[in-house]
Symmetry: C2
């Protein structure tokens, strides 16, 4: 069996290390880049090299921000409601919430969830800075927007316990049927939550 | 709405230019790389930068080979059957056929298929070098392994016409039910082909 030229093999292996990209997709991407003008590979390579050195974590909310900024865009924006604090797992979640346009408060990024199996305890997350932040400058409400998963729920419960002594209102995102969804295809747990959380019309 | 830091945005946009990667996957990949050690982004970036300059097309079969090689590994291997020539659309197809371990002849890569809609005529493909190669060194058999698609079939028919005057045997890969497939899920055309191509047991 003939093998691929080494540089091509190296590119395929590098792609394979990304999440959700298997050997077939990796080959397809590598061969695609070979067919395209060099500019395409070059722009991706340059973006890859820049991204780590040119970004940093906001010291207030731990969202990703440009390196050298004192705080991130949201924390620096005085028009954002400082009395609403939304706690999310990952920086990507901030992006998703921002895209909805429905939230005008501040964020706090945990950078993970509690997961004893994977050895992630409170100390591995940005939980201590969150408690400190709420203590020093108590918001009207802390919205726990961790994922509606087992780990997300456990993390939310833990945070509620930790925040309880501070006397701040703690809420959690609603569970129910996704908009545009179909009752027929909803799983049992979601349907139970939708029933329990039913609202007056 | 808060926007992402520019370097991160640039990386997401660069990923989005790859085939099969939409905005969501691109964000996921970019945020994943941010979380990982810098070595991961760096190795991908280096592979991207090297791949174009370190690879070239084999002057005989037009498969991809390391730059500076006189011919590719398959063409240089004297143990491969020179009397069997397999014509494929893309370099990736060579890889796929090699993985089967069931073909020990030589290849010829067309680098595309005839597609009048996209302005791809015989001159845009490596068809003239193929005819020349068959004329100068006639193989026992030319296997047309273009895809079983409309364009692949049209290209195969065109090649058969062009090869006919040279008196060489021209074959096409078999159509039929995929191994491990299910009659129930086979489309009508495949089933018709499988019927027509039935073989004695």
């Amino acid at each position: 069996m003939a093998s691929l030229p080494e540089p091509l093999q190296a590119l395929i292996l590098a792609f394979e290390r990304l999440p959700g990209i298997g050997p077939k997709t990796a080959s397809r991407l590598a061969f695609y880049l070979l067919r395209q003008p060099e500019e395409l590979s070059r722009s991706l390579a340059e973006a890859l090299l820049a991204v780590k050195s040119a970004t940093a974590l906001c010291p207030v909310c731990f969202n990703i921000t440009s390196a050298g900024m004192e705080r991130c865009e949201v924390c620096a924006d005085s028009r954002r409601d400082e009395t609403l604090l939304c706690v999310v797992e990952e920086p990507l979640d901030v992006l998703v919430l921002e895209r909805t346009g429905g939230f005008n408060g501040r964020y706090h990024v945990l950078h993970g969830v509690l997961s004893p199996i994977e050895g992630v305890g409170p100390e591995q997350l940005k939980i201590r800075p969150l408690i400190e932040r709420v203590r020093q400058n108590p918001p009207r409400e802390v919205i726990l927007a961790t994922n509606p998963s087992m780990e997300g729920d456990a993390t939310a419960l833990y945070l509620r316990q930790q925040l309880a002594p501070l006397g701040v209102r703690v809420t959690r995102l609603a569970r129910g049927l996704p908009v545009g969804g179909d009752l027929e295809y909803a799983d049992q747990n979601t349907l139970l939550r939708a029933l329990a959380g039913r609202q007056d019309l």
